[in-house]
């Protein structure tokens, strides 16, 4: 009897110990170590950080072992801070990058090639990103940048001014197949308002962020497809630049570039011009709050069709991250369709989709403007300003801008400055 008791006791103890060991083993195996991912975010207001985290909510719920540590930096200091961190070897795991420094960072080996992680994740890049945006993420065959914050130019217009002037809306002209450079200029002239002294009180048109789209629409190119030779010294480029300059100098329907002090977005929102070509994000920031009755149309058709520049940023992973896969996951979820949907549901803010996966949701919810599909169509025609991918992008931009200052001021013709620009830009492209 005692033997049975003793055996039962030993058996009970054995089961207890085994249960404890297995239990500890299982929980120990299952509980993954928390992985903190530092994400550097351009943040001018607290919402810039808050929105990123709100959108990531469902992803973080599914991945409780991933913790986000935001590193907010104001946009004015962002690049300097990122460069300093790069120099010190303390880059955050994930950071937002501007297009003009995509190449220098990838070329310096500071970023992680995401290709193996995309394969491991079985992530469909083609579905997630617009093809033109995705192309920009590659450097020498490796994927370093995941597109974020895509946008392109469309023509905004103040419907009230068009109604008052008796001019057909650009979108209606576009649908009727009549929206081209000629009808655009005609409309701009009719919509420009002058005071008794002839001073322009309201411009017909105002340029938002650059003039490159006019050159493309006229059949001009900036650089060859592999980015090694500047092609700006062409009759098409000269004609396009002169046409843009003459909007101010000859026709007086637009301000000279740089003439408008302060935010150009706000000046359109306050009624300083009837048309404005700019990116999508201004709707939420300035136009809707102004209460303006507005809509959008594609850019007016030029000699070779219509196009607009693709503007974007990216999220990239540092080559020195200790958690490469988790950092990649965070980078790819920032701005994806789920992130966009969550953010919209929680805050009412709708970000432009990064690819086909988000288009339907965007079109169903983006109102105003009435014809928000114009943004999606513009993305299909969007062009990439390849000079921005040069390692000397900043200097090239300055060379072009400073020489064109003379054209905008009417001191030289586009034909005069383009040979100078091409020579100087070629010199820099040759250094790469």
């Amino acid at each position: 009897m005692n033997k049975i008791k003793r055996a039962s006791l030993w058996g009970f103890l054995l089961v207890l110990v085994l249960t404890m060991v297995i239990g500890l083993g299982i929980t120990g195996g299952l509980a993954q170590e928390t992985k903190t991912i530092r994400v550097m975010i351009m943040a001018n207001v607290p919402e810039d950080v808050e929105y990123k985290l709100i959108g990531l909510g469902p992803f973080l719920e599914r991945n409780p072992h991933i913790k986000i540590e935001p590193v907010p930096v104001p946009s004015s200091e962002y690049k300097i801070k990122l460069d300093a961190m790069a120099a010190a070897g303390t880059l955050p795991d994930v950071a937002c990058h501007g297009l003009s420094w995509f190449t220098p960072y990838a070329a310096a080996g500071l970023l992680l090639d995401l290709t193996p992680y995309v394969e491991k994740d079985k992530f469909d890049l083609r579905e997630a990103y617009f093809p033109r945006a995705l192309e920009l993420g590659y450097y020498k065959g490796g994927l370093y940048h995941l597109p974020y914050g895509l946008t392109t130019h469309v023509m905004y217009y103040n419907k009230t001014y068009f109604k008052e002037a008796g001019v057909a809306y650009p979108y209606d002209q576009y649908k009727a197949g009549k929206w081209d450079w000629g009808t655009f200029l005609e409309a701009a002239k009719k919509l420009t308002v002058r005071d008794v002294r002839g001073k322009v009180m309201r411009f017909g048109y105002m340029q938002g962020l650059g003039w490159e789209q006019w050159a493309w629409m006229n059949g001009a190119e900036f650089v060859n497809p592999i980015g090694t030779k500047c092609l700006m010294n062409s009759p098409e480029m000269a004609e396009a630049i002169q046409w843009v300059a003459d909007l101010a100098l000859v026709h007086g329907v637009a301000p000279k570039p740089g003439e408008l002090a302060g935010s150009v977005h706000e000046q359109f929102a306050s009624g300083r011009s009837a048309m404005y070509d700019c990116i999508e994000v201004v709707i939420h920031q300035t136009i809707v709050p102004s209460g303006m009755d507005f809509d959008v149309a594609p850019m007016p058709e030029g000699k070779v069709g219509r196009t607009s520049p693709l503007r974007m940023a990216s999220f990239a992973v540092s080559a020195t991250t200790e958690h490469p896969y988790e950092a990649y996951l965070v980078a790819r979820h920032l701005g994806d369709a789920e992130w966009t949907r969550t953010l919209y549901e929680e805050t009412g803010y709708l970000q432009f989709p990064e690819g086909a996966a988000g288009v339907e949701f965007y079109l169903a919810h983006k109102k105003p403007p009435e014809h928000s599909s114009v943004f999606i169509e513009a993305m299909e025609d969007a062009r990439v300003y390849l000079l921005d991918l040069s390692v000397n992008a900043g200097e090239i931009r300055r060379i072009i801008a400073s020489n064109l200052d003379l054209v905008w001021a009417g001191k030289k013709s586009a034909k005069d400055v383009l040979p100078v620009i091409e020579k100087e830009v070629d010199k820099l492209l040759g250094e790469e």
Partner: protein, 302 residues
Amino acid sequence: MIWKSKLRSRQREAIEGYACILPWILGFILFSMGPVVACIVLSLCQYNILSPAVWIGLGNYRRLFYEPLFWQALKVTAIYTAGAIPLGLGGSLVLALLMNQKLKGITGFRTIYYLPAVVAGIAVALLWRWVFHPDFGLINWILWELFKIVGPSWLLSEAWVLPAFIIMSLWGMGGGMIIYLAGLQGIPITLYEAAEIDGANWWQKFWKITIPMISPVIFFNLVMGIIGSFQIFTQSYIMTEGGPHYGSLFYVLYLFQKGFQDYEMGYASALAWVLFIIILICTLLVFKSSPMWVYYEAKKKR
């Protein structure tokens, strides 16, 4: 034994002294001396921030001579300095003379005139962009309303952008005014009384008493003005980005563009050292000339 304990006490005192200034010494070595030494070394390297530096000796300094934009930046800065310093020195002296009057409420005026000097550079730059607006700016409005003159394009014109910045430099006159005011109030009243007894007029009193007596203050303002105007940056960075057509490409803006936008930190370091040498030479010249025009009462007495 006494000697020993004395030494110990001296040593203790020295240790305590060093311990007290240690935070400053550490701060100086880490945050001032360290960057200065690094800047010398980097100026001798090709360094793009993102990749390790490569030693190129005096390559960056040689390159300076062949860079047209280096000479343009130097020219723009020199013209600005030549225009802004006399205007600033003269303007703040006139203002200080006005503010030195014994009038009711003069303290309020002094405060008002000094206020602009404490406004942040970026805010000032944004404000002046509007002042210089060709169509709606205050200056062109005054020119048209009072004189029927169509004003220039100011910041949009290669020819007028530097005069615009020189005019704008007057905004900071309040700082110089306060220093002049302190100097003016230190002039013994007896000197003016004696001159009046001798029949001196206003101009004679100003030229023979006021100017010599405040010459050390003029000297100080001149040295600080030279250093400050060679380092002008924020205004052109915010208002014109060096344009139009490099018309406002100030030296420090060029240095910033090279270092932080074009990833040429080695070249930018060389630019920084050249700027240091230029400022040093200018300051030494002013110091060297000072015995000819700066009057020190204490020196005279000796």
